[in-house]
C-alpha cells in the first residue's frame, strides 16, 4: 500500500512538474542570459536618446518587446541549428536537441514571439522600433544563421550587425527616428562583436571544428585569430572615442578609456600567445562586462 501511495504521489508530482519543465525549457530556448546584455544596450540607448530619464512604462514595454524579439530570434536559431547543436558540447543539452521540445513546436513558439514583439513595440512604443526589431530578427536568422554561419570566416563580423540592432530599437522607441548618436551606438556593438566572439571561439575551437562551423580559429588557426582579436580591439577602442568627438561629455570619454584600455591590454596578452586558453577566457568574460558598463556610462553621461 505504501508503495502504491508513493507511486501515486510521484505521478502527481510529475504531472505538476511537467508544465514547469516545459515553461523552463521555453525560457531556456530564448537564451535569457544573452538577452540581458542586449537589453542593457537597449535601455541605455533610451537614456541617450532622451538625454535624460525616459518614461517608466516606455522602458517596460520596450524591454518586454525587446525580450520577445530577441527570444524569438534565438529560438528560431536553435530550430535551424539543431543539427550542429547536437554535436557541440556547449549546446548538446538544449531543449530541442534533448527532445524535450519538438522542433516544430519551437519554431512556432519563436515565430509567435516575433509577431508578438512587433505588436507590443509597434502599439506601445513606436512602429520604427517595431520594424527595427524585425530587421534584427531577419539579420540574425536570415543573414547570420542561415547564410553566413556555415559558409564564411566573416560570419560573426557581418552577423554582428544583428546584435547591434537593440540600441537602435531603444533609441527609436524614445524618439521615433534615428540620429547620428544611434548610429554610433550601433557601430560600437558591431565592432565589439569580433573580439568578443573570436575570444569565445578560441575556447570552443574543437566544438566548432566537430560541428563543421568555419569559425576563424578552425579554418586559419589560433595565431591568425589572436591577431584579429587585437586588431579589432583597436578598431573598437577608436570607435568608442567617436561619441566624444561628436559631442558626448567628459564622463563618457573617461569611461570609454578606463573600460577600453584594460580590454586592449587583455587582447595584447592574448595576442602574445603564451597562454591562449586562459587569456581567451579572460578577454571573453571581460568583454561582456565591458559592453554593459560602457553603455551604462553612455546613459550616465546623457543624464548628468
Amino acid at each position: 500500500m505504501d508503495r502504491l501511495g508513493d507511486a501515486v504521489s510521484t505521478a502527481a508530482a510529475d504531472a505538476a512538474a511537467a508544465p514547469r519543465g516545459i515553461l523552463r525549457d521555453l525560457i531556456v530556448l530564448t537564451k535569457p542570459r544573452i538577452i540581458s546584455l542586449l537589453l542593457v544596450t537597449t535601455v541605455c540607448a533610451m537614456f541617450a536618446a532622451e538625454q535624460g530619464v525616459p518614461g517608466g512604462w516606455l522602458i517596460v514595454w520596450t524591454l518586454i518587446g525587446g525580450y520577445m524579439s530577441a527570444g524569438g530570434a534565438n529560438t528560431i536559431n536553435q530550430y535551424v541549428d539543431r543539427d550542429i547543436d547536437a554535436v557541440m558540447g556547449r549546446t548538446d543539452r538544449r531543449p530541442i536537441v534533448m527532445g524535450r521540445i519538438s522542433a516544430g513546436g519551437a519554431l512556432a513558439f519563436g515565430l509567435g514571439l516575433v509577431v508578438a514583439s512587433v505588436l507590443v513595440l509597434g502599439f506601445l512604443t513606436t512602429w520604427l522600433a517595431a520594424m527595427l526589431s524585425l530587421v534584427g530578427v531577419a539579420l540574425y536568422v536570415g543573414l547570420y544563421t542561415l547564410w553566413l554561419k556555415r559558409t564564411t570566416i566573416h560570419n560573426i563580423v557581418i552577423g554582428g550587425a544583428a546584435g547591434a540592432i537593440p540600441p537602435l530599437v531603444g533609441w527609436a522607441a524614445v524618439t521615433g527616428d534615428l540620429s547620428f548618436g544611434a548610429v554610433l551606438l550601433f557601430a560600437i556593438v558591431f565592432v565589439w562583436t569580433p573580439p568578443h566572439f573570436w575570444a569565445l571561439a578560441l575556447m570552443l575551437e574543437r566544438d566548432y571544428d566537430e560541428a563543421g562551423v568555419p569559425m576563424l580559429p578552425v579554418v586559419y588557426g589560433e595565431e591568425a585569430t589572436r591577431t584579429q582579436v587585437l586588431l579589432w580591439t583597436l578598431v573598437m577602442l577608436g570607435t568608442t572615442l567617436l561619441p566624444f568627438a561628436a559631442g558626448a561629455g567628459v564622463i563618457y570619454l573617461v569611461g570609454a578609456l578606463v573600460l577600453g584600455l584594460p580590454f586592449l591590454w587583455m587582447a595584447w596578452m592574448l595576442w602574445r600567445g603564451d597562454d591562449t586558453r586562459p587569456w581567451a577566457s579572460i578577454t571573453f568574460h571581460y568583454s561582456l562586462a565591458y559592453l554593459a558598463l560602457l553603455f551604462v556610462v553612455v546613459a550616465v553621461d546623457a543624464v548628468v
Binding site: W147, L148, R150, T151, T152, I153, H154, V157, I158, F180, V183, L184, A187, F190, V191, P214, V219, Y220, A224, T227, Q228, L231, W232, L234, V235, L237, G238, T239, L241, L242, F244, A245, A246, G247, L253
Partner: protein, 63 residues
Amino acid sequence: MRLVVLIIAAVLVVGAGLAIVRSMWGMRAPLARGATSGTETLWLFLPLLMSVALVAWTAWVMP
C-alpha cells in the same frame, strides 16, 4: 580637445582596419557553397568602409 580625440580615433580605426584587410587578404577562399571569393572580399571590406564613413560623418557633425 574633441579634434585631438577624433584624430586619435581615426588613426586607430583606419590604421587597424587597413591592417585587418591586409592580414586577411589571403583568407578569401570560398569555404562552402553559398560563399564566393566576391562575397568574401565584400565581407572583408564592408566593415572597413563603414568605419571610414563613420569617422568622416563624425568629423562632419563635430561641434
